[in-house]
């Protein structure tokens, strides 16, 4: 509702401002954009903005046209000849208003009043009709406008008609080669056309969808008078006829040639003819049409149509086309881009309250954001007023943005979409790693395999239930393997069997006493055979299983973990592990032993360490074996540095936890220790220097 009004007002000011647009006006244009914020009219606003400071009289038409276009879907049928049916504003008004604008503006406040009745409160500045506001704008407008208004009125009217026809011909494809527009223009008293007038607001302003052809982007940015506009539009008509006549463009041109001989040099006509003749495909034609319209508008605006040698003028080719993305919009009008009519808006009734509040808020916010808007507007104008090429790229970019934005308002449940997207995002960001765990818990299918032994294969896809053994079978399988292992003593075989049992447990999501038993068994077996990696895997799993409250040999494995952390020199982890120990655990002999080992290791107290090493419960010794060599070396280093002149091998052997002196001797040899001549002592001085 307000769009139309805003545009109307904007239009007046733009017209008034003339070529030299003030920042204020641009700003206003910006504000319109903003106030519409997200409504369908956005792109029109954008285009209007582009036109700012570039057009005068013709611009008024555009504004009107745009406004009408927004209400187009409703009005297509009614439109024909409607313009004629409009009560023409008195001549005096023409001096102030270009034809349509004046009328529209006069009408807009009526709508406004109606809205007011519904509780939309307008600030005083918006209430006055266009005319007073209009009087405020620069004085040269009146002079110019006067002249222009008079000049342009009939032409513009005609143009409008032709546009309509063109659109109609495109959309409805009437077969008559005679332009219906002309016919309509000659019969102003059309009965049908009275309808829109009598209907108070929306229908009245409902107008030709064809006005999209005169969308401001079509016009070059250079100043031009309304005559040029009408001519450019007449070009449209010509092209329309070309289409209608199935390529007999020449005929259409001839027909038109009679209409306005002043403006159309014959050479130009043949030039256009040649241009279209060079086209092979409809797409090409569209391009040429587009190009010519832009080109000719410029030329007419500059009044050079008679100066140019049209016979030598370069024909439109791919090189100099300026496809501005309009074509696609034209050919496939997407519903999302179709502006809402006033009545549609009303029908939707998306919160009078909301709209109002929004506006009020923005009015407040306006001050704050004015600066920014202003800046943006300035930039746009700068682009427009510089090189045309640059401008086109900018427009194209804008167009892209507009399309993007338009898509956002495409029909569909936005809320749902948004919500969905965030839910998905949540899943894809934070919860992405959950897949493993969730998958495991999701497996409810029980295996059906009865095999006691199974080769371990790394799973690359979902498991086949026929190869997975249920818990009952796994239990017997474990017993079977352990029995077999006693005699077989083949760690590799055992490891594989246990791994396959572990896998079957995992894929079926079985986490209970059996699981703990399997992992504990495997961990011990790995320790026995010095398989550090396998032990660590089991240990990690066991830690998780214990923390889930499944009972097992928790203390024993906690002690192993302490040893393992010593093995990996993880002081920080050991420190935090201390925090996990409850007094009960602490008093457990496995753990208290492990803690003593830890302290001895920390202080380099090899005497204590190897004493504890000998006493290690369970499989502790196996695990300590993994780093006992390392400890012996550091201890030996200390010994040879501390003792003089020598130290007996027996002493070293007992201090470093060797079971037999021979072992110690081979260790000493491998460490590079030098024995004294009698071979019972290590020569510390020599060894120390050597090490």
């Amino acid at each position: 509702r307000q769009e139309g009004w805003q545009q109307g007002r904007g239009g007046v000011q733009q017209g008034g401002g003339g070529v030299q647009q003030t920042e204020l006006q641009e700003q206003q244009g910006e504000q319109q954009t903003w106030q519409q914020g997200g409504q369908a009219g956005y792109d029109y606003q954008q285009s209007q903005q582009e036109a700012l400071g570039t057009q005068e009289g013709c611009h008024q038409e555009q504004v009107t046209a745009e406004h009408q276009q927004q209400q187009a879907p409703q009005g297509v049928q009614q439109v024909q000849g409607e313009q004629e049916a409009y009560p023409q504003p008195p001549a005096l008004q023409y001096t102030y208003f270009p034809p349509w604008v004046g009328y529209q503006q006069a009408q807009q406040p009526v709508q406004q009043v109606q809205l007011d009745g519904q509780g939309v409160q307008r600030s005083p500045q918006t209430v006055p009709t266009a005319s007073p506001a209009h009087n405020l704008v620069s004085s040269n407008w009146n002079l110019k406008g006067n002249k222009r208004g008079l000049l342009s009125t009939p032409q513009a009217k005609q143009v409008e008609e032709m546009d309509k026809v063109k659109k109609k011909s495109r959309w409805d494809a009437p077969k008559n080669s005679q332009s219906p527009a002309l016919a309509a223009a000659r019969s102003p008293g059309n009965a049908e056309s009275n309808k829109p007038i009598s209907s108070s607001s929306p229908g009245m302003s409902a107008s030709s969808p064809g006005s999209s052809t005169s969308s401001p982007r079509v016009f070059p940015a250079k100043p031009q008078n309304s005559a040029a506009t009408s001519i450019s539009l007449r070009t449209n008509e010509k092209q329309v006829q070309r289409l209608q006549d199935g390529g007999q463009a020449g005929e259409g041109e001839k027909q038109n040639a009679g209409v306005d001989p002043d403006y159309w040099p014959p050479a130009l006509k043949s030039y256009i003819h040649r241009a279209f003749a060079a086209c092979n495909t409809p797409a090409d034609r569209d391009k040429v049409e587009q190009f010519l319209r832009v080109e000719l508008n410029t030329i007419f605006a500059e009044g050079k149509q008679w100066q140019i040698n049209w016979n030598n003028y370069p024909l439109p080719s791919d090189g100099n086309f300026n496809t501005r993305g309009q074509k696609s919009r034209w050919d496939t009008p997407s519903p999302s881009e179709e502006p809402k009519t006033f009545s549609q808006q009303l029908a939707e009734g998306d919160g009078e309250e909301e709209e109002k509040g929004e506006d009020a808020d923005r009015m407040q916010g306006k001050e704050v954001f004015k600066k920014f808007r202003k800046k943006k507007g300035k930039n746009n104008r700068m682009f427009i007023s510089t090189e045309p090429d640059l401008r086109f790229t900018v427009i194209e970019e804008d167009q892209h943005k507009i399309n993007l934005r338009a898509q956002r308002f495409a029909p569909g449940d936005k809320k749902f979409k948004a919500k969905l997207s965030i839910d998905q995002l949540i899943k894809s960001t934070i919860m992405n790693n959950d897949t493993d765990e969730i998958d495991l818990l999701q497996f409810t299918t029980e295996g059906t395999s009865e095999a006691l032994e199974k080769q371990y294969l790394r799973l690359t896809s979902a498991p086949d239930p026929s190869t997975v053994r249920p818990e009952r079978v796994l239990k017997t399988s474990l017993a079977h393997i352990l029995k077999k292992g006693e005699t077989l003593k083949d760690y590799k075989y055992m490891c594989e069997q246990l791994k396959s049992i572990r896998q079957d447990l995992t894929v079926q999501g079985i986490r209970n006493g059996l699981t703990v038993e399997v992992y504990e068994t495997h961990a011990r077996m790995a320790l026995k055979n010095g398989d550090r990696d396998e032990f660590n895997q089991c240990q990690t799993q066991l830690k998780a299983l214990y923390s889930e409250g499944i009972p097992g040999q928790q203390a024993e494995f906690l002690a192993y973990r302490i040893f393992y952390l010593i093995l990996t020199n993880s002081t920080a982890d050991l420190s935090s592990l201390l925090g996990e120990l409850t007094p009960t655990l602490r008093s457990n002999h496995c753990i208290s032993h492990a803690l003593k080992v830890q302290l001895a290791w920390l202080l380099g107290d090899y005497h204590q360490f190897f004493k504890l090493y000998r006493e290690a419960p369970n499989m502790g010794k196996s695990l300590l074996n993994l780093f006992v060599e390392r400890e012996r070396r550091t201890a030996l280093k200390a010994i040879v540095r501390a003792y003089r002149p020598s130290v007996e091998v027996v002493h070293i052997s007992s201090e470093l936890g060797f079971d037999a002196e021979e072992e110690c001797l081979s260790f000493l040899q491998s460490s590079g220790a030098v024995l004294t001549d009698d071979c019972v002592s290590v020569d510390c001085k020599v060894t120390s220097c050597k090490m």
């Binding site: 934070i430 790693n433 200390a638 501390a642 201090e655």
Partner: protein
């Protein structure tokens, strides 16, 4: 609505944004309590904002809702989306780094929500493994870090590298929380290899040094640890008493290991009296007192992860005790091992025999705390005539 109005403009405008966007996605801003924001915020976001800012703000508002509903898991997940969306936008900005304050805010909130999510998991006795939320948060922050570090070709003024200090610190915080200190090493290396190490703010550098010092301490590189922690302590903002205290908790044990004992006034000032007896025990060589006080304040020391470090002070205590024995024996250079054994037994050290004494002395000699040698044959320690017990501090110079 005003919130969205501000947002809309903020996402376009590079000047205002710095302050505003930071505030608008922060959880320390008043808008968090504005329930009006909750109405159709997703639609509003889409309407006003461009991707990925719409995602970011929608997730942020949803996060705010979750917070007020007390659903920390949801809040954390939403903050994750905020981070991800922000990163998308951030990554797309070439040769500009104005968004770094926003990055800071977003990442810091993410970490805090991860902590809270973790706590709520513990409370609900979930089967998820502990530290999982923090790990994922760290992954997200790590991806931010990568973006920042890889922006190495731009000039520093516009480079995202400027964002690395804050990210490193956030990552440190998480890594220390979940005990994955080995992940710190690549970070330190990345910082050392970058010119950014000279462009930390003082606050960032204090935090950075604090963590690096802590890490060095756990790696038993006490000298480096002392340097870093000392820097952090000296440069820490004077009224950040809590932070200063935190630094001291690590600095004191490290310094004691290096032979510097804290003054009682310092311990008093920062309410660290737990260390008082430790200090006394170590300097007196009073092993009995040391083990007693360690047991007494075990919980405190374990909480800060310094229990094992303090255990190492036993070595210094042995040295001090043996020095006393040496003095008591009248300065003779041949000290019977038996005398040391008696002293240790006096201190009620468990499992003491003559071999244990030899082992302890051997270690002290090996580490240069005692200058001399053990004569196994005569069961004596022969100490140097010049400086049999050099001062500990001089050993690390």
């Amino acid at each position: 609505r005003h919130y969205f109005g501000v947002l809309e403009n903020v996402t376009c405008l590079a000047v205002l944004i710095l302050m505003s966007l930071q505030a608008l996605v922060s959880f320390q801003h008043l808008h968090i309590h504005n329930q009006k924001l909750w109405v159709d915020f997703e639609g509003q976001c889409q309407k006003f904002l461009e991707n990925p800012y719409d995602e970011m703000i929608a997730a942020h508002i949803r996060c705010a809702m979750a917070v007020s509903n007390g659903d920390m898991m949801e809040a954390y997940a939403c903050q994750g989306v905020v981070t991800q969306s922000f990163l998308k936008a951030f990554q797309a900005q070439k040769e500009e780094n104005w968004a770094i304050p926003v990055l800071k805010r977003v990442v810091s909130d993410l970490r805090q929500f991860a902590l809270k999510a973790e706590a709520s998991l513990v409370r609900s006795k979930s089967r998820r493994k502990p530290g999982e939320m923090l790990e994922k948060a760290a992954d997200l922050i790590m991806s931010c870090f990568r973006v920042c570090v890889s922006d190495s070709r731009t000039a520093l003024e516009v480079s995202k590298r400027v964002g690395t200090p804050t990210l490193v610190n956030q990552l440190f915080k998480i890594y220390f929380k979940i005990n994955t200190l080995h992940l710190c090493k690549p970070l330190v290396r990345a910082i050392d290899g970058s010119d950014i190490k000279d462009h930390f703010t003082k606050a960032q550098f204090v935090t950075y040094k604090y963590f690096v010092g802590k890490k060095d301490m756990f790696d038993s590189d006490f000298k480096a640890a002392a340097e870093s922690l000392e820097f952090a302590f000296n440069c820490c903002y004077i009224s950040s008493q809590r932070n200063k205290r935190l630094i001291l908790i690590y600095l004191i044990p490290v310094k004691m290991l290096l032979g510097y004992m804290p003054k009682p006034e310092l311990l008093k000032k920062y309410d660290l009296l737990e260390f008082e007896d430790v200090r006394r025990a170590v300097s007196q060589g009073n092993l009995l007192l040391l083990s007693q006080t360690l047991r007494k304040h075990e919980a405190f020391f374990i909480r800060f992860g310094i229990y094992l470090i303090l255990q190492k002070l036993k070595i210094i205590s042995y040295r001090n005790l043996f020095k006393k024995v040496y003095v008591l024996l009248g300065g003779t250079h041949q000290l019977p091992l038996r005398a040391f054994e008696d002293a240790l037994k006096f201190m009620k050290v468990e499992d003491i025999d003559i071999d244990e004494v030899q082992c302890i002395v051997a270690n002290l000699i090996d580490k240069n705390y005692i200058r001399g040698y053990i004569s196994h044959q005569h069961q004596k320690v022969v100490v140097s005539k010049q400086v049999p017990f050099p001062s500990v501090a001089t050993l690390f110079k």
